[in-house]
């Protein structure tokens, strides 16, 4: 792995984003809209019903953390799509660029964008709803890491499918997170899911993070085992994602697809 190559690819992405308003909106605008809609909805719920006041912290915490996962996943697939849409993919892979370097660069953009989203949303939540996500404590760091890892795996898998199946699969870059959202326990506990779906939720690393967040907000304690399971699952999924991605990439090389999408 050559760090210089990773840096060059990161620079490319920074240039692309800095000059693309719509790409910047993905980081600065849409997550904020998400927070505001959910935030005001909960304010309204508190007014018209006797819902517990922790409801607002649950939902706002969930929106912030969900957006971290969502950004990490999306940026990985979209930065690949950028190279396809720019018809630049061939120039990249006709150069001395290893697949691992290419993926590493997208992972780093995933970290950076998740951190930016976190900064924006946590400030907005403090400002509008007097909610401080960092009150969760140091364990928030572990939540963040697990969400990021899951975002990476999902992003890499999505990219792999796009590499292999081409333009018809492009919409997955935006859709995949919503496929797993129902079983990620983002806005409700796993226990409210139908019994036959609960085992699926237990295989989703993010479900432990969101459950952990609610435990802390409500009872000021959390179950460290949940986080360990989440991390272990993430490691397994990262390996599977890397394996599947490499397989799809090789298959694309076999079918001449890189050349087809890349030019």
């Amino acid at each position: 792995m050559n760090l210089r190559t990773v840096r060059a690819l990161l620079l490319k992405y920074a240039f692309i984003c800095s000059r693309n308003t719509f790409r910047a909106m993905d980081v600065f605008f849409w997550p904020l809209m998400d927070l505001l809609v959910w935030g005001f909805l909960t304010l309204y719920l508190l007014k018209v019903s006797s819902a517990v006041p922790t409801l607002i912290t649950f939902l706002i915490g969930a929106v912030i953390m969900w957006n971290i996962l969502y950004r990490a996943q999306q940026v990985i697939s979209v930065s690949f799509l950028d190279d396809v849409w720019n018809r630049n993919l061939l120039n990249i892979f006709a150069g001395p660029v290893r697949l691992s370097e290419y993926v590493a660069a997208t992972y780093v953009t995933g970290i950076l964008q998740s951190l930016i989203v976190l900064a924006i949303l946590s400030s907005a939540a403090a400002l509008f709803y007097s909610f401080n996500i960092f009150e969760i404590g140091l364990v928030f760091g572990a939540f963040f890491v697990n969400l990021l890892l899951m975002g990476w795996s999902l992003g890499l898998l999505t990219t792999g499918v796009i590499v292999r199946f081409g333009p018809p699969a492009e919409a997955l870059a935006w859709a995949v997170p919503f496929l797993i959202q129902p079983v990620s326990a983002v806005f409700y506990p796993v226990s409210v899911l139908p019994p036959f779906i609960q085992p699926i939720a237990k295989l989703v690393p993010a479900s432990y993070v969101f459950e952990g967040m609610r435990q802390i907000l409500e009872h000021k304690t959390y179950d460290p085992n949940g986080l360990l399971i989440s991390f272990a699952l993430n490691v397994v999924y990262m390996l599977i994602a890397a394996f599947v991605f490499r397989h799809f990439f090789e298959e694309a090389r076999n079918k001449g697809l890189l050349a087809k999408y890349g030019s």
Binding site: L11, N88, L90, F93, V97
Partner: protein, 251 residues
């Protein structure tokens, strides 16, 4: 003594049972040679170039560049090569210099700024330095692609229709630049083109491919003598039509 830079042996690419892009192509290219891959549309030229760059995996056969196998030592080989095609672009919303800067990073160029300035001047687009790449004309894009292709002082340059959208004046200049670099640095070039002037003026040796097979190989004059044509264009048309006829007769 000639030094083989490129050695392609029995290359075959079968995308599907009914889509064999390259059937059996073998050739060698010597150091400092400008080599032309010629053939009608769909002959398998681009597929061959993509296999040489490791972008497409061959079904069988071997590709050795600098004595190394592209499938095994891809990054090492590509560090010493470069590629330009009229159909591959650089990110459209970046400025010209930003694109060149990024690729100079990818190739690990030392004196980046000077190199970029030198190339922009060489291809006469120094005034476009701060322009957004997507706003360039087709010919300006082509010249930018060529700038990118020369960033790392490649020992081997793979060009897929590099002059496709250049006006005759600039196409002539590009040919001269290639000739000059060949003289100064013994750069090796593999070039595909449908511009017969390009091929006859530049290429010392020509490989004529059709339907994924090698039909003929030699210098332009040799091909003209063998197939009886007054120009390379005539030779091209003779070979292409005869084998299209064969194809139509189901031979």
């Amino acid at each position: 003594m000639f030094e083989n830079i490129v050695e392609v042996r029995n290359l075959r690419k079968e995308f599907a049972a009914d889509a064999v892009a390259v059937k059996d192509i073998s050739f060698c290219v010597n150091k400092g040679e400008i080599f032309g891959l010629l053939g009608p549309n769909g002959a398998g030229k681009t597929t061959t170039i993509h296999m040489m760059l490791g972008l497409t995996r061959p079904s069988s056969g071997s590709i050795k560049i600098f004595g190394k196998d592209i499938e095994k030592d891809r990054v090492e080989i590509l560090q010493r090569c470069n590629f330009a095609s009229a159909y591959v672009y650089l990110p459209w919303n970046l400025k010209v210099w930003e694109n060149l800067f990024i690729f100079s990073e990818i190739y690990g160029i030392k004196n980046r700024k000077e190199k970029i300035e030198y190339l922009l001047e060489l291809f006469e687009i120094e005034n476009l330095r701060n322009k957004i790449t997507g706003t360039l004309s087709a010919g300006e894009q082509t010249r930018l692609n060529l700038c990118k292709a020369f960033l790392n002082d490649p020992e081997l340059l793979l060009l897929d229709e590099p002059t496709a959208s250049l006006d005759p004046d600039l196409a002539d200049k590009v040919r001269k630049i290639l000739k000059q670099l060949q003289k100064e640095r013994s750069i090796t070039v593999i070039n595909t083109s449908h511009n017969m002037l390009d091929v006859s003026e530049l290429c010392e040796r020509i490989l004529f491919v059709q339907h994924g097979n090698v039909i003929a190989e030699g210098r332009a004059e040799e091909l003209m003598a063998k197939f009886g044509g007054a120009s390379l264009e005539e030779v091209f048309i003779t070979i292409a039509r005869s084998s299209r006829l064969e194809g139509a007769l189901g031979k």
